[in-house]
C-alpha cells in the first residue's frame, strides 16, 4: 500500500491568509485548547506519552517522557521554551510552519504550558527570520486578544504568556542549553549537563525545551486522540511529520506524511529527480546526518530504520543531489558551515572544523595529498564523541559518510579539481550562465 500525504500541520497552508486567527478558527483552531483546559494536566501528559510523539527537532526523544522529568511543583516558576532556531542547511520545516500557520504553534504552546504548569513560554526564533518574527508577534497578539493567552486563558483562571524572542544568528543556539544561555542574555554556548534543563533550565528553573513541530503536533493529539496519532507511522516512530525536499527534484517543498515513508514514495510525490538526471546522494535528516545514496531509496524514513541504515532521521531535511554534483564540493560547503557556526567552546569542534575546511578546500582544488583522506577520517574520529555538544559530531557526518560512499572522488582530489570532474554550472538548479562555471 502506497503511503499517502497526511496534512495536519499543513492542511490549510494554501489558504490565501492562512496565518490569521480567522483562518485558524475556520479550521477548528483552538478547539483542542478548550478540550485540554477541561482535562487534568497529568491526563494531557499521559495522552502525549500514549501517542508516542517523539521530539521533531532531530534527536527524537519521547516528548511525554521529557515533560515527566520536571520535578514536582515547588511554587516557583517553570518555563516552556520553544526551539525555533531552525538553522541547519536543508532543514526547512519550522520556518514555513510558523510563517503559514503560527496559531498551531501558539495553541500547542498554550496546551503544553497548561500541562506542565508553566505560566510563561518563550519562542526562541532564528534572528534572521524577520518575517516569521512578525507573524509570530501578530499571532501572539491575536491569541491574547482572543483570550487564548493572557492572565485568564478561556476563563480557566490560568495565566499563560508567550514571549517571542529573536536570536542573533547563531546555529549553536539551536542546542538547547546554548539557547537558554542566549535567552538569558549571555553568550550562546552549551552548558555543562547535568543539571538538565528539566531541573535547572532557564533562569535555573525547571524548563521544557521542545522543537516547534513537536509543540505544534500537540493540539492534534488532544483533538483527535493518542490512538489516532499512534495509528500513523511505524513501530516506535509514530505520527506524521514534515518532510522537506530540496535540491535536484522537480517540486521541492514540505510534504507532510507519516513517519516511515520512503524516499521513493516522496520522489513520486514531488515529481522525481529533475528531468534527465538520476539520484546520486541525499541527506535523510539535514547536513548533520550521514548521507545516503540511491541504494537507500526504500529505507523507511523512521527513527529506527534510518538509524539501522547508518544515518539519522534528524529533521527530515531531504537534500537531493543528482549525478552532476561533486560530493567533495557539497561536503566542503557543509563543513564550511560548521566551521562558521562552531561556537568555539571546545577544542575538537573549534580547531577540527578549521582544519577539515582547509583540507577539503585543497581536495576540491585538486591539490590534495596522499595523506588527506586519512587526515580527514582521523580528525573526524578525534571530533566525534570528543566535543562538548553535538555540533561537532554533526560536522563529521557528511565527511565520513561521503568518503565511505564516494572515496574515489576524494582520491581524484589529489590531481583534478572537482570543478573539472563535475562542472559546477551543470548542477546549478537555476541556470547561471557560462561565466560562473568557467571561473570555477
Amino acid at each position: 500500500m502506497a503511503t499517502t500525504l497526511t496534512p495536519v500541520l499543513s492542511s490549510f497552508w494554501d489558504d490565501p491568509k492562512s496565518w490569521t486567527m480567522k483562518t485558524y478558527r475556520d479550521n477548528d483552531g483552538y478547539c483542542a485548547l478548550r478540550t485540554a483546559l477541561g482535562m487534568a494536566p497529568a491526563a494531557i501528559i499521559d495522552a502525549v506519552k500514549a501517542s508516542g510523539l517523539r521530539g521533531r527537532g532531530g534527536a527524537g526523544f519521547p516528548t511525554g517522557m521529557k515533560w515527566g522529568f520536571l520535578p514536582a511543583p515547588d511554587g516557583g516558576p517553570r518555563y516552556l521554551v520553544v526551539n525555533a532556531d531552525e538553522s541547519e542547511p536543508g532543514t526547512c520545516k519550522d520556518t514555513p510552519l510558523m510563517l503559514a500557520a503560527p496559531h498551531i504553534l501558539i495553541e500547542g504552546v498554550a496546551i503544553t504550558c497548561y500541562a506542565i504548569g508553566a505560566e510563561r513560554a518563550f519562542i526562541y526564533l532564528r534572528g534572521e527570520e524577520l518575517h516569521v518574527y512578525r507573524r509570530l508577534l501578530q499571532a501572539v497578539a491575536e491569541a491574547r486578544a482572543a483570550g487564548y493567552l493572557g492572565t485568564d486563558v478561556l476563563g480557566s483562571g490560568r495565566t499563560i504568556e508567550v514571549v517571542v524572542h529573536a536570536g542573533a544568528g547563531a546555529y549553536i543556539c539551536g542546542e538547547e542549553t546554548a539557547l537558554l544561555d542566549s535567552l538569558e542574555g549571555r553568550r550562546g554556548q552549551p552548558r555543562l549537563k547535568p543539571p538538565f534543563p528539566a531541573v535547572a533550565g532557564l533562569y535555573s528553573r525547571p524548563t521544557v525545551v521542545n522543537n516547534v513541530e513537536t509543540i505544534a503536533s500537540v493540539p492534534s493529539i488532544i483533538a483527535n486522540g493518542a490512538e489516532w496519532f499512534s495509528g500513523m507511522g511505524t513501530g516506535k516512530s509514530t505520527g506524521y511529520g514534515l518532510f522537506s525536499l530540496s535540491g535536484h527534484v522537480k517540486r521541492p517543498g514540505q510534504y507532510e506524511a507519516p513517519l516511515g515513508i520512503t524516499l521513493r514514495e516522496l520522489l513520486d510525490m514531488c515529481g522525481g529527480i529533475r528531468e534527465g538526471h538520476e539520484l546520486k546522494f541525499w541527506t535523510p535528516g539535514g547536513s548533520s546526518t550521514p548521507i545516503f545514496t540511491a541504494e537507500h531509496v526504500d529505507t523507511p524514513l523512521d527513527f529506527e530504520s534510518v538509524g539501522a541504515a547508518g544515518s539519522m532521521l534528524g529533521t527530515r531535511a531531504l537534500q537531493i543531489f543528482d549525478e552532476t554534483t561533486s560530493v567533495v564540493r557539497a561536503v566542503l560547503r557543509w563543513t564550511e558551515f560548521y566551521a562558521h557556526e562552531s561556537c568555539g567552546k571546545c577544542t575538537p569542534c573549534r580547531e577540527g572544523t578549521y582544519w577539515l575546511t582547509q583540507v577539503l578546500r585543497r581536495v576540491e582544488a585538486g591539490h590534495g595529498t596522499a595523506e588527506d583522506i586519512d587526515v580527514l577520517l582521523d580528525t573526524c574520529d578525534n571530533i566525534l564523541g570528543r566535543s562538548f555538544c553535538a555540533l561537532g559530531d554533526g560536522a563529521t557526518s557528511p565527511i565520513t559518510s561521503a568518503i565511505q560512499y564516494f572515496r574515489e572522488e576524494f582520491e581524484a582530489g589529489m590531481h583534478t579539481p572537482a570543478w573539472e570532474l563535475f562542472p559546477y554550472h551543470r548542477s546549478a538548479i537555476v541556470p547561471v550562465g557560462e561565466l560562473v562555471g568557467a571561473s570555477r
Binding site: A170, P195, A339, G344, T347, Y354, D378, N382, F388
Partner: protein, 913 residues
C-alpha cells in the same frame, strides 16, 4: 553518574569525611575510596595518575572546554553489570559514582587516542614560538605536548594568526594566537575576582579572549570590519584581525574607552577608568597570567625578561598589607624579576593581588640605601660612613640627647616584621629607657591603643579566613576590604557568591566598587557618625534601614571587621566593642599595613609591653624585666605617635624606622618636629623625606633580603626566609649594634632567637587593659562646610609601588565623589572638576556624582594629585569647603602621568602603604 556543578566538588573538604560518604572507584585497575562529589580527575591525582588538562583548575568551576582530560568510564547499571559510556568523558567535569571504573590514557587506547587527538588540534593553531615565549620551560602546553602528544604535526595548512599583543591593561598583555581558549582567565575574573574585565568574543576559530572592543567586535563606526568572520579563512581572517587590535594596543584612548564603557551601560565616568585611560580592569588581574596554561597572557613587567629555568624561586610573604599572602619570589643573580602567588589554602588559597605581585621594584631603585650616612658637621650634608662610625655617632647622639633631657622617642612604622617590632620595643625600653614608642604612622588615638590592648593583643587566631567564609554575615566598619586587604575581599567574595551567600554590610558613606561586587548592603554613614550607627546596631531597634544588619550580626558566626579608619573617629572602637558584646558577633581588627598586628604583639605601643602586658601593670613590668634580664622596664606613661612628634618639636630625639612624615596625621607638624628634633636616627631602605633632617641614616634590609615574619590580620604567623643573599641588615640587627654601642645588650642580633624569645614570653595571664569607653563627639555643626570622607586605594602613590609604571597604569583614576545635591549646592558640574579646600591646602579632582549622603565629599587618601594629609591638612570627618575648578586645574591634576607616579617627588608624598 553525576556531573558536578558545585564548588564543593572542585576541592576536597578539609574535614575528614564519614566512611559512608566515601565512594569506591577503580582507576586504571587500582581501587580507591574518595569523598562523594570528588571529580574523577582529582581522584586520579590521589593515585598519582596525571591526566593531562588545561581548563581544569581546582579553585574554578568545571568547564569541560578543552577536552584534554578525556578518559573512558564504565558504571554499573541497576543489575550491577558494568556498562561502558559510549563516548570518552571529560574527567574534570564528572564526579565519582559507586563502582565506577575509569581507564585513563595509561590503560585505555581510546582515552589515549582521544587525548592525542585533542593535543594535535590544540597545537595545530598554536605558534611554534616556544623559544621566545615567556612560558617556555614552565608551560603546561609544552609539557603535556611532550607527555601526551605526537612528535610531529600533520597540519600543513594555514595557521590562524592575530596581531600581537593586545593590551588588556598596561600590565596584562594578550597574545591571542597562543591562547587555547581554556577560559581559566575569564572564569577567574568572573568567579573569583568578580571583575569580568575579559570575556570571550567571536566564535569558532575566530573565538578570542579580549576586553570590550568595538573594533574586534566589528561594531566600530565605519572603522574596519573586525574579525567577525569566524570561519578561519586563513589569510582573510588574519588580515581582518591585524587592523583592529593594533589600534587598541597602541592607543587605549580614554575617549574611545569611555564611549565603550557607556556602550555597555556604565555611567561612572572617570571613576570607571584606570590611570592609563582604559576601563578599570581588576586588582587581581595578575592571577590570570599565573593560571594561563600557555603563554597567551603575560605581564608587561616580566615579558621577555627571563627564562624560567634561569630563575631561583624562593617562598616568601607579601609585605604590602595585612592579608598575609604567601608568595614566591623568582630571582636571578640577586635581582627579583617577578613574584607569584604562593599556595596556602588557609590564607590566600592560590591568589594574590596585583600590588603584591608587581610592587617590588621599590627595592631596586636608584635611591636604595646601601651605605650608612652621617651628617657632616662642617658641611651639614649627609656623607657616607662606615657601619662602625655610623653606629657610634647614632649611639652618641642618643646618649647626649638623653643626658640633655631630650630622650628619644621611637616611631616604628607599620611595615616591620614581628622580630623587628620586638627589637624596637626592647630597644626603646632597655636602651633608651622609655615607653615613647608607637608603630602607628597614621591617625590614631588613645582609645585605639586601649582597644588594641584589650581586644587584639595576645588574642591569637580569633577570626580566620575560614571563619569569614563560614560566617552568615559580615559587617565592615570603616574598612574597605578590596582596597585595604584584598585577600580578605577575595574570601568575602567567595562567601558572598556561593549558593547560600554570606550577607555583607558596610558602614561607609557610599557603596564602593568592592561592596557592589560582594552584593553587599550599605549602612550609610557620614564620617564621624560611625559610633552612633554602631550603637544603633547594638540596640534592639532604631535607626533607618538597620534591621537587616542588626539581625544578621546576631546570627551565630557573624563577624564584625573594623579597619584602621575607626581609630580616627572618637568613640567608634568603643562602640564596636559594645556592639560585638551586645550581639555576640566576633570582632576582628584588619589593619592596612603588614606589620601592624605584629607590632601590637611585640609591644611597639606606649602603653603595651610584648604579649599584651600593660605598662601600667607592675606585675607585667616585672614579668618582662625578668624575661629580658634587666632590673626593670620604664613605668612612666609613654607618648604615642602624636606625643612623640610634639616632644620632638620641643627638641626630643627621634629614632625613625621607615616612617614617612606625610603619612602622619599632621604632616606639617611632623616636618617641623623632625627639623626641631635635637637628633634624628633613621632606619630606612630608601632615601626618604626624613633624611633631610636625619643625623644618621642606617640602611636596612627589605623583606626579600631578610628573614622574619609578619602576623597577618588573623594573628597568624607568616614566617619567611631571606630570598636574596645580601649583606643588608634587618632593623633588629642594626638596633642591636646601636644598643651595644650604648653599652646595653638587647639580644636582638639573631632573628630566630628573637622570635623564639617572643614566643617564650607566652600569654599575659594578668589583668587586661579595660575596654575603652569613649563617648562619641556630638555631631558637628556643618554650616557651609562639607564633611571629608577618605581612605586609601590599593594602588596609589604609596612608595612601595614606586618604579612600576605598568602597575600604576592599572590604578583607579583619582576622583572626588559627592552627591548630586551637593554638587548642585556648590555649583559643580557633574562632569567637571571640584577643588576641595582643607586646613592647609586644596586638592582638585574630577567630580563623580555618587549616591551618598549630602554634604560629604570623598577623596582617595594618597593618590596622584590627592595627598589628603599633606595636601589638605584634613582628616576623615573634618569639614572642608568645595568650589568649582576650571579645566586649568584639571590639567594640573592630570599633568603627572601614570608612568611617573612612582617618583612624583615632593608634590606627591608617598607612604609605606
Amino acid at each position: 553518574m553525576t556531573l558536578t556543578t558545585g564548588a564543593s566538588a572542585s576541592g576536597l573538604s578539609a574535614t575528614q569525611p564519614n566512611p559512608q560518604d566515601l565512594v569506591k572507584v577503580t582507576i586504571d585497575g587500582i581501587d580507591i575510596s574518595v569523598p562523594k562529589g570528588t571529580l574523577v580527575i582529582r581522584a586520579a591525582e590521589q593515585l598519582g595518575i596525571a591526566i593531562p588538562r588545561f581548563c581544569d583548575h581546582p579553585l574554578l568551576e568545571p568547564a569541560g572546554a578543552c577536552r584534554q582530560c578525556l578518559v573512558e568510564i564504565a558504571t554499573p547499571d541497576r543489575e550491577g553489570n558494568l556498562k561502558k559510556m559510549p563516548k570518552p568523558q571529560a574527567s574534570c567535569t564528572i564526579t565519582v559514582s559507586p563502582g565506577m571504573v575509569i581507564n585513563t590514557q595509561q590503560t585505555s587506547p581510546v582515552a589515549d587516542k582521544a587525548q592525542q587527538g585533542v593535543m594535535e588540534l590544540l597545537l595545530m593553531n598554536h605558534p611554534l614560538d616556544c623559544p621566545i615565549c615567556d612560558k617556555g620551560g614552565e608551560c603546561p602546553l609544552q609539557n603535556q605536548a611532550m607527555s601526551n602528544g605526537r612528535g610531529e604535526s600533520r597540519f600543513v595548512d594555514t595557521k590562524r594568526t592575530f596581531a600581537k599583543p593586545i593590551k588588556i591593561s598596561t600590565q596584562v598583555l594578550l597574545d591571542r594566537e597562543r591562547c587555547i581558549l581554556c577560559q581559566r582567565c575569564t572564569r577567574f575574573s568572573a568567579e573569583i575576582a568578580g571583575d569580568p574585565f575579559i570575556d570571550l568574543q567571536e566564535r569558532g576559530a575566530g573565538q578570542q579572549i579580549g576586553v570590550f572592543s568595538p573594533e574586534i567586535l566589528g561594531i566600530a563606526d565605519g572603522r574596519g570590519h573586525g574579525s567577525g568572520d569566524g570561519t578561519g579563512h586563513g589569510n582573510g581572517h588574519a588580515h581582518g584581525a591585524e587592523h583592529a587590535p593594533g589600534a587598541a594596543a597602541d592607543d587605549p584612548g580614554g575617549i574611545d574607552a569611555l564611549a565603550a564603557a557607556s556602550a555597555i551601560g556604565v555611567s561612572q565616568g572617570p571613576a570607571e577608568l584606570d590611570e592609563s585611560g582604559q576601563p578599570f580592569s581588576s586588582y587581581f588581574s595578575g592571577n590570570t597570567i599565573q593560571i594561563c596554561p600557555v603563554g597567551a597572557l603575560t605581564g608587561a613587567a616580566y615579558r621577555f625578561r627571563a627564562r624560567p629555568f634561569d630563575l631561583v624561586s624562593s617562598p616568601s610573604v607579601c609585605e604590602h598589607c595585612a592579608s598575609g599572602c604567601s608568595i614566591r619570589a623568582d630571582h636571578r643573580r640577586g635581582t627579583v624579576l617577578r613574584r607569584m602567588a604562593g599556595e596556602d589554602s588557609v590564607v590566600n588559597e592560590e591568589w594574590n593581588c596585583d600590588k603584591g605581585r608587581w610592587a617590588f621594584q621599590y627595592a631596586q631603585l636608584p635611591d636604595r640605601l646601601r651605605t650608612p650616612m652621617v651628617r657632616d658637621a662642617a658641611t651639614g650634608e649627609l656623607v657616607e660612613a662606615s657601619w662602625l662610625e655610623a653606629v657610634a655617632v647614632a649611639a652618641a647622639g642618643l646618649r647626649d640627647a638623653a643626658e640633655a633631657g631630650l630622650r628619644a622617642g621611637v616611631l616604628v612604622g607599620g611595615r616591620v616584621s614581628v622580630e623587628d617590632a620586638y627589637a624596637y620595643s626592647k630597644f626603646a625600653r632597655i636602651a633608651l629607657r622609655t615607653n615613647d614608642i608607637d608603630f602607628r604612622a597614621r591617625p590614631h588615638a588613645a582609645e585605639e591603643e586601649a582597644f588594641l590592648a584589650h581586644a587584639v593583643a595576645g588574642r591569637g587566631l580569633t577570626v580566620t579566613y575560614a571563619d569569614l567564609e563560614a560566617a552568615p554575615a559580615v559587617v565592615l566598619a570603616g574598612f574597605e576590604a578590596e582596597e585595604e586587604s584584598p585577600i580578605v575581599f577575595l574570601r568575602l567574595h567567595k562567601a558572598a557568591t556561593r549558593r547560600t551567600p554570606t550577607a555583607v554590610f558596610s558602614i561607609a558613606p557610599f557603596a564602593s566598587h568592592g561592596l557592589v561586587k560582594l552584593n553587599g548592603s550599605l549602612l550609610t554613614c557620614v564620617p564621624g557618625d560611625e559610633p552612633r550607627l554602631l550603637a544603633s546596631l547594638a540596640a534592639t531597634s532604631g535607626g533607618q534601614g538597620l534591621d537587616e544588619g542588626r539581625e544578621a550580626l546576631r546570627l551565630p558566626g557573624a563577624v564584625l571587621l573594623v579597619g584602621e579608619r575607626l581609630a580616627g573617629v572618637p568613640g567608634a572602637l568603643s562602640a564596636a566593642l559594645s556592639l560585638a558584646q551586645a550581639t555576640g558577633a566576633r570582632l576582628a581588627w584588619v589593619p592596612r599595613r603588614a606589620g601592624e598586628r605584629g607590632a601590637v604583639e611585640a609591644g611597639a605601643l606606649p602603653g603595651l609591653l610584648p604579649g599584651a602586658r600593660p605598662v601600667a601593670d607592675a606585675a607585667a613590668r616585672v614579668d618582662i624585666a625578668a624575661a629580658w634580664g634587666v632590673d626593670h622596664v620604664p613605668s612612666f606613661a609613654g607618648r604615642d605617635t602624636s606625643g612623640i612628634i610634639a616632644a620632638a618639636a620641643a627638641g626630643a630625639a627621634l629614632v625613625v624606622g621607615g616612617v614617612d612624615p606625610d603619612d602622619l596625621p599632621d604632616p606639617a607638624l611632623a616636618h617641623a618636629a623632625l627639623a626641631a628634633s635635637s637628633f634624628v636616627v633613621s632606619l630606612e631602605i630608601r632615601d626618604s623625606a626624613v633624611h633631610q633632617y636625619a643625623d644618621v641614616v642606617l640602611p636596612v634590609a627589605t623583606v626579600t633580603e631578610k628573614a622574619g615574619a609578619f602576623l597577618d590580620w588573623e594573628g597568624r604567623l607568616r614566617p619567611f626566609e631571606a630570598a636574596l643573599a645580601t649583606d643588608a641588615l634587618s632593623d633588629h640587627a642594626v638596633l642591636d649594634e646601636i644598643a651595644r654601642e650604648l653599652g646595653v645588650d638587647i639580644g636582638a642580633a639573631d632573628t630566630a632567637a628573637l622570635r623564639a624569645e617572643l614566643a617564650a614570653l607566652g600569654e599575659w595571664d594578668g589583668q587586661r587593659i579595660d575596654p575603652p569607653q569613649v563617648a562619641a563627639n556630638s555631631p558637628a555643626t556643618r554650616g557651609d562646610g562639607v564633611v571629608l570622607a577618605t581612605w586609601h586605594q590599593l594602588l596609589d602613590a604609596g612608595r612601595g609601588q614606586d618604579g612600576e609604571p605598568y602597575l600604576a597604569g592599572t590604578a583607579h583614576r583619582p576622583v572626588a565623589r559627592l552627591s548630586a545635591p551637593t554638587a548642585a549646592a556648590h555649583g559643580l558640574a557633574a562632569t567637571g572638576h571640584v577643588m576641595v579646600t582643607g586646613r592647609t591646602g586644596a586638592i582638585t579632582l574630577p567630580v563623580v556624582v555618587t549616591d551618598m549622603p549630602d554634604g560629604v565629599v570623598w577623596l582617595p587618601t594618597n593618590s596622584r594629585g590627592s595627598a589628603v594629609r599633606a595636601g589638605l591638612g584634613s582628616a576623615a570627618g573634618d569639614l572642608v569647603s568645595l568650589s568649582a575648578a576650571g579645566p586649568d586645574a584639571a590639567l594640573v591634576a592630570a599633568g603627572t602621568t601614570a608612568a611617573s607616579t612612582g617618583s612624583a617627588g615632593s608634590t606627591t608624598p608617598g607612604g609605606h602603604a
